[in-house]
Each structure stands twice: as structure tokens, then as C-alpha cells.
Amino acid sequence: MVMPIKTIKIVIAGPYGAGKTTFVKTLSEVLPIETDVPVTKSAIDNKRSTTVAFDYGRMKVREDLVVHLFGVPGQERFSFMWKIIARGMHGYLFIVDSSSEDRVKEAIGMYSFFRENFPNVPHIIAANKQDVPNAVDLYTIKSILKVPYEIKVMPLIATNKRSALFVLVALLEEIKKTLLETSRFR
């Protein structure tokens, strides 16, 4: 009997230029993440193969467990795809460029979209470029984006391996917490 493969789907969201691609690239330098590989439906249903449409990374954890990372195109003209990409995700990381308040404000629309459409999906906010002088502090980011109290806002330097890993693990912890809570109420 063929063992079903479990897929953990994580979406990396955030406006254009926030650092999503850099984040995945940095992770791939420390973790065995395959990038630039075609996403194939054949891996799922043996029917067809299509090429990747987005920034994408795949990490095999066990024979029956893989993690997929999907980067969402940040430009608003691609926003019709956000919902499609995010469908079935287990959690998302929302990256904002925290180098200035204006850059943080650019994220308001996209973050509202994700909150409205996926209100119960675990996520964290990563404030990228915290190494830039006068970067916006986490409290202000939380206030600008109207982040709910229970949602974590974490500092991130997407080019830094340790920082990127720390944020990814934090998101996974949130997903685990949600799964535990869900299973408790069953």
C-alpha cells in the first residue's frame, strides 16, 4: 500500500519588496529546501505536470511528510490570486518592511485581506529590516496593522540565517498550538 504523503502548506505573504523571496532564499541556505523546482501535480495525482507559478520551496522532512513554502506575489494587481494560493494553508507568515512607517502602511490592505479571508489560520507578523537605523518598533507595527493582541509580531532580518529560522520555528509553534487546541475540542 502506498503511504499517503502529508503536506504542510505555509504561505509567505507581504507587500512587494517586503523580503519574502529573500526570506525563503536565506532559509534554503541552511535548510534542505529545494527552490526553483517545478510544482507538479503529478506528485499528487499522477496526472499532469505544471510549472511553478510563485516563489516556492519544498522541504522533505520524512518519507511521508513535506513542507511547502509558497510566496504570494505582493503587487496588488495579483491580489486576485492571494485567495487561490492561500487555500488549504496551515499557517502564514506575514512579512512587512519595517524600515519606515510608510512601508508598514503599504501592508495594511494585504494584511486586512488575509485577516478577513482567513480569520482562523495561525500566523505571525515578521517585521523585516529591523537592522535598518530608525526601523519602526514592533508596537507601532502592531498598531498600524491593527494586529490582534494574541498574534505575535517578531523582528526579522531576512538576510540573517538565525533570524529567519527563528521566525519560521515561531510560526510552526503557532500552528502546533492551534492544532492542539483544535484537537482538544473534538
Binding site: 502529508k6 503536506t7 504542510i8 499528487i44 510563485f54 496588488e76 486576485f80 510552526l172
Partner: protein
Amino acid sequence: MDGDIQRIINEIKLSAEEIISESPDQIKAVYIMDKEGTVIAYATNIILVSAGDTFFAAPRFISSLKSLISTLPIGNINYVLMQGIDGIVQILSIRDMGYLMVINNSEASIGLTRIILEKYSDKLYELLNRLMSVSEEELIEVVNVEITPKDIEDVINFIRSKATF
């Protein structure tokens, strides 16, 4: 971004530019939106609109019309017209796929523009339809096998074991 998706969006943008060229002395701007009111492509008439005009440079503002256009069609009404001092907004529902919005210079061209909108609606329907199916097709479907907290724990441990600096 995938080539197919980009190509279709470019074709949509080209259609927006063609609509302007149908009546360059009247049509100020054209917006093509999906069924949720998200602007997929727009074109402005550089002869009639100055580059510094923020109204035309801000598709985000246009998408705030979502609440209005998402009500279309109302019964058999698939078209609305709004008249202002500096222009006229005409919105046509592209069946269940999206909306085509045009901003006109004067009321004299309302009828003509309406005909132009109708003329392009089939082509845009086909393009939006292709865009939606390509977008969906090129995404990996997550297999519906339940993930457990133990699986996530395994991923975290895996990351910690691999992450050497």
C-alpha cells in the same frame, strides 16, 4: 511570476489600451477588474489625463468601488453609469468574471462608449476566464491528509537538527 499568467495579464492590459484607442478624445481611463473588484489591469489616456493626477494613478481607490460593483448584475441590469462634473464613470459587468470600467470626458460619448464596452466584453470574459483557470491550475493542491501536532513537532526538530551555522 509564471509566464502564462503574466502573458494573460499583458493581454488584458493591451485590451484596456485598445479601448482607449477606440475613442482617444473621450475615454480618460479604463480599468479591468475581477469579480471581487480587484484591478487586474488599467490604462490611462495620457492626452486627457496628466501624470500627476493621483485619481488615475491609484487603482486602489478604484477598487474601493467594490461594494458597488459587486452588486452587479442587479437582476438583468449589468451596467451602471455615474456622472460627475469632471467625468462620467461607466461600469459593465463581464458576466460572472469581472468588471470593465471606463472614465469618460463628457456625456456626449456615453452611448458610443457603451457600445465599445459591449464590444470588448466577450474578449475580456475569455481572458479573465483563462487567467482564473491558469492561476488555479498552476497551484499545488494540498492533499487532504490530516496534519497532527506531532508532525509539526517533527518539522521543528528537523529544522533544529539541520540548522548548523
